[in-house]
Amino acid sequence: MPDPMRIRAVMMGEVVDVKILMSHVMETGQRKDADGNVVPAHYITEVTATCKDKTVMSAAWGPSVAKNPYFSFRFKGGAKGDKLSITWKDTAGGTRTDEVTIN
């Protein structure tokens, strides 16, 4: 099971400021190991954020995103105490969902 994300969601006036750290190898599929074998691609392809049953952000990612990515965005319509859920899916069929309360 993948490691948990570190998520912070804070009200900044009208908008919710979200900062996420994800634990992921983000292998591009272009690297070779010490024996010359290609390290298979393994990266996050999809990130979605859900608040009150509504998708507030969705992103399509590729192999150029850094290892252990840091991701930040803002959205309107959230309030203190609401739950925000973040999900990622990767090329190996792995997925992880974590939830935080907006404060």
């Binding site: 900062k19 750290l21 634990s23 190898v25 292998e27 850094a66 290892k67 252990n68 840091y70 930040s72």
Partner: protein, 271 residues
């Protein structure tokens, strides 16, 4: 008169070039690195290691099914606040001067009953091969943020370890006839664009020591002092530095003492 589109754009391009060149030249590599670090702000993937380390610290593990919460890092069982700022230190129970990493090994083998081979299976993590030692170190070190380094060298064994560390720091060896001091005892030395800290001065030692362990962006891994020292040995083409050895701990103690009074900010983030 209207200029043809192509020459207008090339004119703009050459103007931009002329403007940007002197600006770029004015920014030193250190300023550029500082700017790069500022872009991360408080966000540091080291937190992912801290989270995993906290889990490892609090979860009962090993044949004895106990957590590490009874582990004594020098300030009493389970006390981690400020513990790293006072390490390495003498431990009565093992009769040794230990750094954080070797002390964690002691706790994992004696308290939890984990075999040493398992504890040492992954000393330095690589992607999916995660190191428990690095995660635990990150968690414990973060609890010393804001604490001041205090290495009183009260015990004779601590004085001896310091003397060993000092002698190794200045000992020239290997095919390059290098010592730690070759690169780290003068100001303004660098490897490529990386300015090297002058570890023989208080300011230099504090600036360096208080920022390790660190998340290394170029490796995508959190690295501890044990890693930093063994990589310095590799760069000098010296024999491999043994994890938790007297030399590794002596050098760490020497550097910590040089950084006495410095305020811990680690785990930090490095290029």
């Amino acid at each position: 008169m209207a200029l043809p589109a192509r020459s207008t754009s090339s004119l703009i391009a050459s103007l931009l070039l002329a403007l940007s060149l002197p600006l770029a030249a004015e920014q030193t590599s250190e300023e550029a690195i500082a700017e790069y670090h500022a872009m991360f702000g408080d966000e540091n993937p080291a937190e992912l290691w801290q989270l995993r380390g906290e889990e490892l610290w609090k979860t009962p593990r090993g044949p004895r099914e106990v957590s590490l919460e009874a582990c004594d890092l020098g300030k009493g069982p389970g006390v981690i606040t400020g513990a790293y700022a006072e390490l390495p230190r003498w431990f009565e129970d093992t009769g040794k001067v230990q750094d954080l990493e070797s002390r964690l090994v002691t706790c994992m083998t004696t308290l939890q009953g984990l075999p040493e081979s398992e504890v040492f299976a992954i000393k330095f993590g690589d992607g999916e091969r995660k190191s428990d030692l690095e995660a635990l170190t990150a968690y414990v070190v973060a609890a010393s943020r804001g604490s001041r380094i205090s290495i009183p060298l009260d015990h004779p064994a601590e004085k001896a370890a310091y003397a060993l560390g000092e002698s190794v720091f200045f000992y020239r060896a290997g095919p390059h006839d290098f010592a730690c001091a070759t690169c780290h005892s003068e100001s303004g030395k660098r490897i490529r664009l990386q300015t090297l800290p002058q570890l023989t001065t208080k300011e230099g030692a504090q600036a360096a020591y208080t920022r390790w362990p660190a998340y290394r962006v170029s490796q995508g891994e959190l690295r501890t002092m044990e890693w930093r020292l063994q990589d310095c040995f590799r760069q000098q083409r010296l024999p491999q530095l043994k994890y938790g050895s007297d030399v590794a701990i002596g050098l760490t103690l020497y550097l910590a003492r040089k950084a006495e009074g410095g305020e811990m900010v680690a785990p930090s983030i490095k290029r």
